[in-house]
């Protein structure tokens, strides 16, 4: 074959080519040599001399295809009208499908045959992608398409346009039949329907944009509408015969079936649309019904129903789910309130935390099991717990949760028989509850006081556990929150070191103090020791040597420090040898001092004791009382003051040779609790004022509301201040001339340097 252009007559070549084209498109066997000849015929025509005949070839081919499609429509698709179907012969869908399968394959081959025309002649004039993208070319009717595309377009024009309504009707009938038979439609039939539906897509597949337009307009719209009507109908039927719980099960089943059905028949682009339609009709439109038993399901915790309800409600917008969530929230709240409100007695703090934890764990587990850990439900749990934990019993009473939780920690960290792993676990759990507390500063106050007591009186179960807890708090609330706790903790370990060194020092210098001395040195400022007013006290000479030795040693070790002895927190052991048996008694320093006075005489008046020891009335009575109660000393009157005589009880006996005089100090008094709470309020005011000044210094000018917001976000870590308190602080700062109201606006402040 020569590639050289030559002079040819169109009429000589075309009939031969047309004949082959017909064979190709009807999938009739074509010899390779014939195929090759035709291929070169196309070439020859396209490059013919003197004028290329490509346009003419295109025109004739187009005409041929139009004719062919029309012929197929008449002869193969429309034969016998509808009657053949009733005879069991192929119906319209089947015939259309068969014809389409043939044609769509044939046109692909024909496209190959015309490849020279396609590539050399037509592609050149085709609009480029960018041009079509910007749409600046009006789609020219005369524009030539590649043969494959042309064939598909002709199919659309002459076949689909003509048959569309009939086809769609048949398809919908087919889908309806599948629904009616519960998806057991004959496989072959499914294939046909699927093929027909996809032909609407394939026929436009070559288009770069809007290739689904035909499918959507022609089929998808009516299909969704019909499905919608079917769903509504089904929903109505279900409503009549089902309970809510059955209805939800049914809906889940239907959704699944419809999903599979859609996959079986439809183009992928329709799947989400159909699903949405289905949800709309079965769920959104029936929300009232679904919710009608919501309260019961939640309060009885019917897990299967709740699970179903979650599955059913999951796809719909969040705001529509709110009813389930609110009901759930209320349920947790009421259960929480129930478990914590009736608490009474000594161990209220333990019950409070453990009950609350039970509630929290139970619902956390339920959310994981039933609601797939959905964040909406988790936040409902958080809200419910926070509102139970921060609830005030009445408007006037303060919320005591912070106190309870702190005391709970104290119980855990105090010496007990519980094993360490369990304590550790409980402390970790405790943090869960702690996080819900709004008044974290109150917690901190209580915690630090209890920690101080544990450390000073050596009641801690283990120092590791103490440190672990402080670290947990640090993790939850930050460095500043635990700064002082940490300093307290390290003071104790430093003191232990110091004692060891001191004892070595004593040994090295051959001094024997005769007593077992253990001294804790605390740093001022870090410990919540109340007002650290030093109670006047004439230290008995028995102690003096120890004190002096230690102070000397301490000052050698550190410079610039002064030591203040906190005698009210010291205690020791005294050996009593004046009785038949000897006893070792643990008591406070003041008590030791009192008893030591009886070394030289058997009877003293209260006044004498007080004068010798320089004790004030309050301290004297507080410490004298337990000694009288222990019967080591006898008093001539109940009034422990003035001339009342105190006598050594020489007939004292006790089965135990080692015991302790209970001290008034270690028990927490209601006044102390109140004092703690009041001091929190003072701290809050200072914190807020500092925060306001800091914010204003940075911003210079700020609106009232913006300022409040910033203050709130700053204080969030440790507490939630009420707005009135913030306002008061603003007022007092205006009085102190830190800030002022701006001249032109009432609700704006500016910083005064």
């Amino acid at each position: 074959m020569s590639l050289k252009p030559k002079i040819v007559e169109f009429v000589d070549v075309w009939p031969r080519l047309r004949c082959i084209a017909e064979s190709v498109i009807t999938l009739t066997k074509v010899e390779r040599s014939v195929w090759n000849t035709s291929f070169s015929d196309v070439y020859t025509l396209c490059v013919a001399q003197p004028e290329p005949m490509a346009d003419r070839l295109y025109g004739e081919t187009k005409h041929f295809l139009e004719q062919h499609v029309q012929e197929m429509l008449a002869k193969k698709v429309l034969i016998d009208g509808e009657c053949s179907h009733s005879n069991g012969g192929p119906d319209l869908l089947q015939r259309y499908y068969t014809t389409w399968m043939e044609y769509s394959q044939g046109i692909k081959y024909l496209h190959q045959l015309y490849i020279y025309l396609n590539q050399q002649h037509i592609k050149k004039q085709k609009i480029t992608d960018t041009e079509s993208f910007y749409g600046n070319l009006s789609s020219d009717a005369a524009e030539q398409m590649e043969i494959g595309e042309l064939g598909l377009d002709i199919w659309r024009l002459y076949m689909i346009e003509y048959l569309s309504s009939e086809l769609v009707r048949h398809i919908l009938e087919g889908i309806a039949a599948d629904r009616a038979s519960n998806g057991t439609l004959d496989h072959h039939r499914v294939q046909i329907i699927n093929g027909v539906i996809h032909s609407f897509v394939e026929v436009q597949d070559y288009k770069k944009t809007g290739s689904l337009k035909l499918y959507q307009e022609l089929f998808e719209g009516p299909m969704l509408e019909a499905s919608g009507a079917y769903y509504t109908d089904e929903a109505n039927k279900l409503l009549h015969r089902c309970s809510v719980s059955e209805y939800m099960q049914e809906v889940i089943r239907i959704l699944e079936y419809e999903g599979r059905r859609a996959q079986k028949f439809l183009h992928v682009s329709s799947l989400p649309k159909l699903r949405k339609e289905c949800e709309e009709k079965f769920i959104n439109d029936r929300l009232g019904f679904i919710y009608s038993e919501c309260r019961e399901m939640v309060s009885e915790e019917r897990r299967q129903d709740l699970r179903n309800m979650y599955i059913v409600l999951k796809p719909i917008p969040d705001n529509l789910k709110s009813e389930l969530i609110t009901t759930f929230l209320d349920h947790i709240k009421s259960e929480g309130l129930q478990t914590v409100s009736a608490l009474k007695g000594e161990n209220i703090h333990i019950a409070f935390v453990e009950n609350m934890l039970k509630v929290h764990q139970k619902y956390q587990e339920l959310i994981a099991d039933v609601f797939e850990n959905d964040s909406l439900f988790l936040s409902a749990l958080d809200k419910a717990c926070a509102s139970v934990i921060n609830r005030r019993p009445t408007e006037r009473q303060p919320c005591r949760s912070a106190e309870y939780v702190a005391k709970y920690c104290d119980t855990l960290l105090k010496k007990s028989k519980t094993c360490e792993a369990e304590i550790d676990q409980k402390l970790t759990n405790n943090i869960t509850i702690f996080k819900y507390i709004e008044d974290k500063d109150v917690y901190q106050k209580f915690y630090s006081r209890l920690l101080a007591k544990r450390l000073i009186h050596e009641q801690s179960q283990s120092m590791d556990a103490e440190e672990g807890m402080i670290n947990r708090l640090k993790q939850a609330c930050g460095y500043e929150f635990t700064n002082k706790l940490h300093r307290m903790f390290t003071d104790i370990s430093v003191s232990t070191d110091l004692n060891n060194k001191f004892n070595t020092h004593l040994k090295d210098s051959n001094v024997d103090l005769g007593i077992n001395l253990a001294i804790k040195v605390l740093q001022a400022g870090a410990w919540p020791l109340g007002s650290t007013q030093v109670i006047p006290f004439a230290v008995p000479q028995e102690f003096e040597k120890s004190i002096k030795m230690f102070e000397d040693y301490y000052h050698k070790l550190f410079s610039g420090r002064k030591l203040t002895w906190l005698h009210h927190m010291c205690h020791g052991e005294l050996k009593l040898s004046h009785l038949k048996k000897s006893y070792i008694v643990t008591m406070q320093t003041y008590q030791m001092a009192i008893i030591l006075l009886f070394e030289t005489c058997d009877s003293l008046s209260c006044r004498e004791i007080q004068n010798t020891l320089q004790l004030n009335n309050e301290t004297f009575q507080k410490h004298m009382q337990p000694i009288i109660e222990s019967k080591l000393l006898n008093a001539s009157s109940e009034n422990l003051a003035g001339e009342t005589r105190i006598e050594l009880n020489l007939d004292y006996t006790n089965k135990r040779t080692k015991f302790k005089i209970s001290s008034a100090l270690q028990k927490e008094t209601p006044q102390e609790v109140e004092h703690t709470i009041n001091s929190v309020d003072e701290d809050r005011k200072l914190f807020l004022q500092a925060a306001i000044v800091r914010i204003m210094k940075a911003r210079k000018v700020l609106k009232h509301n913006a300022l409040i917001q910033e203050v709130l976000s700053l204080s969030k870590v440790s507490f939630t201040p009420n707005i009135a308190m913030i306002k008061k602080c603003v007022e007092s700062l205006i009085d102190k001339q830190y800030i002022e109201r701006t001249a032109n606006s009432g609700d704006e402040y500016s910083y005064m340097a």
Binding site: A526, I547, F558, K562, L563, W565, T589, E599
Partner: protein
């Protein structure tokens, strides 16, 4: 007494023997608690207005870690007996080598440890 050592020895042994049962109360153990603070006249550092027992503002902002229970932020005394955070003062003297309170030439008398 020095003239009569035997006598004195005797007496002590007598005393010792007699005092042992006579001593009615003996201190066995003492768990004492003391608090230390900087030995300063004024509790507040005049430069940063924070208590000298706490670390200075700068150190607090930097969240400096404790070193053996004590933050690095120690106190310094000048010859004039005024005291400040050492951190605050070392910044101050870069600008002005005088005590901020009394305007005397600043020289360190001692440092807290």
């Amino acid at each position: 007494m020095a003239d009569d050592p035997e006598n004195s020895v005797d007496r002590t042994t007598d005393d010792g023997d007699a005092s042992k049962p006579e001593k009615m109360f003996t201190l066995k153990k003492w768990n004492a608690v003391a608090m230390w603070s900087w030995d300063v006249e004024c509790d507040i550092c005049a430069i940063c207005r924070v208590q000298v027992m706490d670390s200075c503002l700068r150190c607090q902002a930097d969240n400096k870690r404790d070193v053996m229970g004590r933050q690095d932020c120690v106190v310094v005394w000048g010859e004039c007996n005024h005291s400040f955070h050492h951190c605050c003062m070392s910044l101050w003297v870069k600008q002005n080598n005088r005590c901020p309170l009394c305007q005397q030439e600043w020289s360190i008398q001692r440092m807290g440890k």
